[in-house]
């Protein structure tokens, strides 16, 4: 393959993979915020739980000299699908006590409480080295179907895996929101008291919504871990773990799964392509600082969308059912 062209293709494949993983998170958030009106600002917490669970389940305990440097609580060496499954289950299970603690709080408090929980999870992984090697994190995570193709083409395989998950999550959610269950969620978002008067157990529906979204975020975390093949607590800081996903969903269109995916691709394009552009344009002396222009870009998108177009690029479909 021609090297220049190869570089562009490899860049695009990496871009599409990351954007698809973020699209999965964005759809998970859409279940919470878009459909049910839950202000979950703790995406990074479920992201971290999914990523770490999958990493611990699929990797093996370090042996020999490595064991002196890498500590982890266990390493089961299971195949990738088991890792994804475990990630989904653990994120979903942890969502239950989180929901029991926080879902009775009003909107703003819920947001703050979930930031607090996700930060506590990150700080815990950072400090407790026995669990998953503390700040250094885990590296060399196994990648599925690695031996299938030569390493040069492996990213195509992984992109295909991520896209399969993206499609499954999308179809499942579209079906879910068009079901009676999905309509109850939207009713709760619009008017909690009214839904209660209609005999719906609002708290239970909110809890189900929180768990479903968390399961999706856990899957996303697992996919991220095996793509980058390395995770450390700094990945799960609120900026990349939570707020960028909020920007994606609000830009794309809250309450619309297509919007969630669109927003993820646009925001990730701005983020990753501006890195590339900055490296080309900015003089070398300024290159360590210039990437922070991206913070301003993402921040401006969020502000402008909220002030000018709170529904996002594609707003919610008013009618989701034919009957």
């Amino acid at each position: 393959m021609d090297t220049a062209l190869g570089g562009i293709i490899s860049f695009l494949i990496t871009f599409a993979t990351m954007a698809s993983i973020y699209a999965i998170f964005s759809m998970g958030l859409n279940v919470h915020w878009g459909y049910t009106g839950l202000l979950n600002f703790g995406i990074a917490g479920f992201f971290a739980l999914g990523a770490y669970t999958s990493a611990l389940v699929t990797s093996r305990m370090p042996t020999g000299a490595l064991a002196n440097y890498v500590k982890q609580v266990f390493g089961l060496g299971m195949p990738f699908p088991i890792g994804v499954l475990a990630a989904a289950i653990v994120a979903g299970l942890i969502a239950i006590p989180v929901g029991l603690l926080t879902l009775r709080l009003s909107e703003g408090y819920l947001a703050i409480a979930t930031i607090g929980i996700s930060e506590s999870i990150r700080i815990f992984f950072n400090n407790e080295s026995w669990l998953a090697n503390g700040p250094q994190g885990l590296i060399g995570l196994p990648q599925p179907l690695r031996s299938l193709v030569s390493p040069d083409y492996y990213n195509f395989v992984y992109l295909a895996i991520v896209v399969i998950f993206l499609v499954i999550v999308y179809l499942a959610l579209e079906r879910g929101i068009r079901s009676p269950w999905g309509r109850v969620l939207r009713a709760i978002r619009e008017d909690e008291t009214m839904s209660e008067a209609d005999g719906k157990n609002v708290f239970l529906f909110k809890l189900q919504s929180l768990v479903l979204g968390a399961v999706i975020m856990g899957i996303g975390g697992s996919l991220y871990a095996h793509f980058s093949a390395a995770i450390q607590p700094s990945v799960f800081e609120p900026l990349f773990g939570t707020f960028i996903i909020w920007t994606m969903l609000t830009l794309g269109g809250t309450g619309n799964n297509k919007g969630a995916i669109l927003g993820a691709f646009i925001v990730w394009a701005i983020w990753s392509w501006s890195t590339y552009l900055i490296n080309q344009v900015v003089p070398p002396g300024f290159q360590t600082r210039a990437p922070y222009i991206r913070y301003i870009l993402i921040g401006l998108i969020l502000v402008i969308v909220m002030v000018r177009r709170p529904k996002g690029l594609i707003g919610e479909e008013r009618q989701v059912s034919r009957f």
Binding site: G108, Y292, G299, V303
Partner: protein, 300 residues
């Protein structure tokens, strides 16, 4: 332990000072301002900018009495505060004021304030870089008090300034006509509007006060530790906890909450690693949210 209590009071003073603006804005406009922490960082860095400028004047480039910083920093408080106040008011006019007309404005504002926070932090990273900065490098003088308490001379300055600023704002809210109007607005916005109070004007004042106090808090925190672009974001978490502990819109509550948070965070280091300090703030906050969501002094 007595040493940890003293450190807790020093940290608590800064948290108390920073949390007043947060609770004021929350009480008056229902907005939980995520950008408050980054406004703190911006204030601290603005002071650094002006302190460096002023240090070209010879007589300002000398130590301010027994403290570890120069007179140039003392003078730099003034322009840093003025610019921060102006910035806070301008951001409110551009971002939050247009939203106030819509319903669910407090959530829209909350999300937008994350964007504001990113913009500020990006700007700080670009102008000053990611490295730690100090107002004045060099040794810091220590005081040896009874019971084995070691206190930096600077920490006396920190407590002095923060509590005088708190007292001044408190008096303003209690006595001045403007202050009374602000409290009326925080208490019952609709009634205040009917009584002829210009609410938008009052909100601008509240943002000004918030900008003033958070800048002082930022500079003091910079003197206590060092300047880094994430300092305010990390500090935001205890600020939130203090405000929630105190109750929405309650200044007294924020002061008490700030002191409690400072003490709890420092005393926890007797048993836990200092890196767990932010987690302590979270745990306190979540416990308050579950058992007494109104806060100690809250009415709503």
């Amino acid at each position: 332990m007595p040493e940890l209590i003293v450190y807790g009071i020093v940290l608590g003073s800064i948290i108390a000072l920073g949390s007043i603006g947060l609770t004021l804005i929350w009480g008056i406009t229902d907005l939980f301002n995520i950008a408050h922490g980054d406004q703190m960082t911006a204030g601290a860095y603005l002071a650094l900018l002006f302190a460096t400028l002023f240090s070209r004047i010879n007589f300002l480039n000398t130590r301010a009495g027994p403290f570890s910083f120069n007179w140039s920093l003392v003078l730099a408080f003034i322009p840093a505060i003025l610019i921060s106040m102006a910035l806070a008011i301008v951001v409110d006019r551009w971002v939050y004021a247009p939203m106030r007309k819509g319903k669910a404005h407090s959530i829209a504002g909350f999300i937008a304030s994350i964007g504001v926070a990113w913009c500020l932090r990006g700007l700080i990273y670009i102008v000053w870089g990611a490295d730690f900065k100090f107002y004045t490098p060099g040794l810091r003088q220590m005081l040896f008090l009874p019971m084995g308490i070691k206190l930096r001379v600077d920490e006396i300055f920190i407590m002095l300034i923060s509590w005088s600023a708190v007292a001044a704002v408190y008096l303003f809210l209690l006595k001045a006509k403007m202050g009374k109007a602000l409290r009326a607005l925080a208490d019952n916005p609709d009634l205040a509007r009917i009584a002829g109070i210009n609410t938008e004007m009052m909100i601008a004042w509240a943002w000004g006060i918030a900008g003033l106090l958070i800048t002082i808090a930022g500079i003091l925190y910079g003197i206590e530790t060092q300047l880094r672009p994430e300092m305010g974001w990390i500090f935001l978490l205890p600020l939130f906890a203090a405000v929630i502990l105190g109750g929405q819109g309650s200044i007294t509550g924020a002061l008490a909450g700030g002191l409690i948070l400072g003490l709890a965070q420092q005393i926890s280091t007797a048993w836990l690693r200092p890196t767990y300090k932010p987690a302590i703030a979270f745990i306190i906050m979540i416990l308050v949210l579950i058992f007494r969501p109104k806060g100690i002094f809250g009415r709503r």
